[in-house]
């Protein structure tokens, strides 16, 4: 991927939720970009902010959430200052999303076909009915579903089929970038594998950019070219998949890698990361990972480290990259 054509560029994105007990800093100064046709992964545990990033990019924020700083550039257009009506022009057409748990993303009283048509009619009004019909058939074949199923209802589909239908829906308006938020979490291993292959094939075939969000680093390893590791609402590290897995810099990434059991290779010792992910109402001062970090020193407890380049195209936010003092 030598082109520098950035489909999505996120700069210093900061978002918080207002709750009864005060603001929760769900995303804090996150910056990254995705090039055309590139597939990046966003990995982290619960509460790290990865789903918040997804809904912020789509500007599908709940009432009590607010983007207080930053830019979200889609093909150069900043979405942050836009009103809801203006953002609607971008949704589905340029950026779309595959949600977690497809059961909840589809309306049970409409057929799958009707739901896809609804999206297309809103965002591609220039298409004729016949063109839309053909497009749906084409999409179904693309995701591996029999087009005859399109006139059925979501509950008549199995879990894997529903997930594919959701992907078809997300692709219906030919977006430039698609966000997949844990699309295979609720599925069985074999179905998950089939779907992952499919997603990878589609992404390559359509040369579409993709952000794949998951807590499962094994899945990320197979699907993404570059990986961003999120922790406590911030980007801890971002680099090519190979670099993240084989030469991690941030201690959290290093800890994460050694906490994942694998069924291939020798049975290695699993290392436990002490403590728990922090409460984002009251995040620890300085580096948010310092309470759990084996290399933490005074500066880690006082000053938050800058997210900068430590090796070629390998960014991390750490005072002791690689663990050295």
């Amino acid at each position: 991927m030598t082109n520098n054509d950035k489909v999505l560029e996120v700069k210093n994105l900061t978002m918080h939720y207002m709750t009864r007990k005060g603001p929760v800093y769900a995303i804090d100064d996150v910056s990254f970009y995705v090039r055309r046709g590139e597939s990046i992964g966003l990995v982290g545990e619960s509460g790290c902010g990865k789903t918040s990033v997804a809904i912020s990019l789509m500007k599908l924020l709940p009432d009590n959430a607010e983007i207080i700083n930053g830019e979200i550039l889609i093909n150069g257009h900043d979405l942050v200052p836009l009103s809801d009506a203006e953002v609607r022009k971008f949704r589905w057409r340029h950026i779309s999303m595959v949600f977690q748990a497809a059961m909840n993303a589809m309306n049970p009283v409409y057929t799958v076909e009707e739901q896809i048509l609804e999206a297309m009619r809103l965002h591609r009004p220039e298409m004729s009915d016949k063109e839309m019909d053909e497009k749906i058939d084409h999409l179904f074949e693309l995701v591996g579903l029999d087009p005859a199923f399109k006139s059925q209802y979501p509950h008549q589909y199995s879990g894997g089929m529903r997930q594919r239908a959701i992907i078809a829906m997300a692709l219906s308006c030919d977006p430039d970038i698609i966000i997949a938020d844990e699309p295979t979490t609720a599925l069985d291993v074999i179905v998950q594998d089939q779907l992952l292959q499919k997603v990878r094939d589609i992404q390559r075939q359509l040369n579409m950019a993709m952000i794949y969000i998951s807590h499962d680093i094994a899945v990320i390893a197979e699907v993404s070219e570059r990986v961003g590791v999120m922790y406590a609402g911030q980007l801890a590290e971002m680099a090519s998949t190979e670099a993240i897995f084989h030469h991690p810099i941030h201690p959290y990434t290093m800890g994460l890698m050694s906490a994942f059991p694998s069924i291939v290779g020798p049975k290695t010792e699993l290392v436990q990361l002490p403590g728990e992910p922090p409460d984002l109402l009251n995040p620890p001062p300085g580096c948010r990972f310092h309470p759990r970090c084996p290399y933490a020193t005074d500066i880690c407890r006082e000053k938050p480290p800058e997210f900068k380049e430590h090796a070629e195209n390998h960014y991390a936010a750490c005072w002791h990259p690689g663990g050295e003092s």
């Binding site: 939720y17 207002m18 709750t19 009864r20 009590n64």
Partner: protein, 324 residues
């Protein structure tokens, strides 16, 4: 060793009391977030004090412990049922210095009547609510827990009772027999307990039944009794309390209607006040507003107050309704 020793030192009941107090404080904070809850509670407290005032004003020695040698309100004139003011020429008389809300056609002080009835309204509401919730909670929990035939039979009974409209039944019963305050409360309790509330409680109980902690309790060796009383009931209490508010609301209203028709054998109540007004032909006249308005206002206000408290409690009971 010291950690364990510390734990055992504080007696268990003390700890539980402390936790209970803390829970009440949290619930209070949630309750007061919604101003309508406070409004409703305020009105209820007002009426509570209102009811308390009466025995003090019309005091006999027993009530005031001999502090007052002469009651503020002379019982001969101010007794709500049998008082009569001979100094006023024509009854009903409009509000005056001696009778703040005037007198009714039988010469009795309206304010005194209003105050006196309040305690019965509360008692009625409370008893009806307790009877209802006892029945509804039991049916709901048992029905949900055992399922099968038990559930079917109980639900059929509930459906049968629900089919019959409450007010006509009350009217028929009122005509057939003598219904006093206590009987009315129990009848309303029975009719409400076997109806919609039981179904609501049952569906709540069903959501509890499928939770993994019920399975955990079973695996620990818990039998039916243990699971129903230790796990299901505490989770049903909030919704039971909530519906109690609405039952009180309904009970007061039903009583007012029945008394208005003269179908109850109650000494004095707000409904009865309106009945008296109607009986003497003063119902639709605006110049004798003090006969109709105070009683109606009291009924409406107290009913509304309980309803508002119920709505505010809803936010405490249903976490999903709370503002984030």
């Amino acid at each position: 060793m010291t950690a364990e020793a510390q734990v055992v030192q504080v007696p268990l009941w003390r700890v539980r009391l402390g936790l209970f107090a803390k829970a009440m404080r949290t619930n209070w904070a949630l309750f007061t977030e919604n101003p309508i809850g406070l409004l409703g509670l305020g009105v209820i407290i007002f009426f509570g004090l209102f009811a308390l005032c009466h025995p003090i004003l019309i005091a006999t020695d027993k009530v005031t412990f001999g502090l007052v040698d002469k009651p503020i309100w002379d019982p001969v004139i101010y007794d709500p049922v049998s008082g009569f003011d001979m100094e006023i020429a024509f009854h009903p008389s409009p509000p005056s210095a001696t009778h703040l809300l005037g007198t009714d056609p039988l010469g009795r002080d309206v304010l005194s009547q209003l105050m006196f009835s309040t305690r019965y309204e509360f008692a009625l509401g409370l008893i009806a609510a307790i009877v209802t919730m006892t029945i509804a909670t039991t049916i709901g929990a048992v029905s949900a827990y055992f399922g099968g035939i038990t559930d079917m039979i109980l639900m059929r009974i509930v459906n049968l009772v629900m089919m019959v409209p409450t007010l006509p039944i009350l009217i028929v019963l009122g005509a057939m027999m003598e219904i006093g305050m206590l009987e009315l409360a129990i009848i309303i309790g029975l009719l409400s307990g076997f109806s919609g509330t039981a179904i609501v409680v049952k569906s709540q109980a069903l959501t509890v039944k499928v939770r993994p902690y019920i399975e955990a309790a079973r695996i620990a060796g818990g039998g039916h009794f243990h699971i129903i009383f230790k796990h299901m009931m505490p989770n049903l209490m909030p919704i039971a309390l909530l519906y109690m508010m609405f039952i009180v609301n309904g009970a007061i209203a039903y009583e007012a209607v029945l008394s208005f028709f003269g179908l109850t054998e109650i000494e004095m109540s707000w409904g009865l006040m309106i009945n008296t007004t109607q009986y003497f032909g003063y119902l639709l006249r605006f110049d004798t507003w003090w006969l109709l308005f105070p009683a109606s206002a009291a009924i409406s206000l107290l009913c509304a107050a309980f309803y508002l408290v119920g709505r505010a409690l809803d936010e405490v009971v249903n976490p999903r309704l709370r503002k984030r």
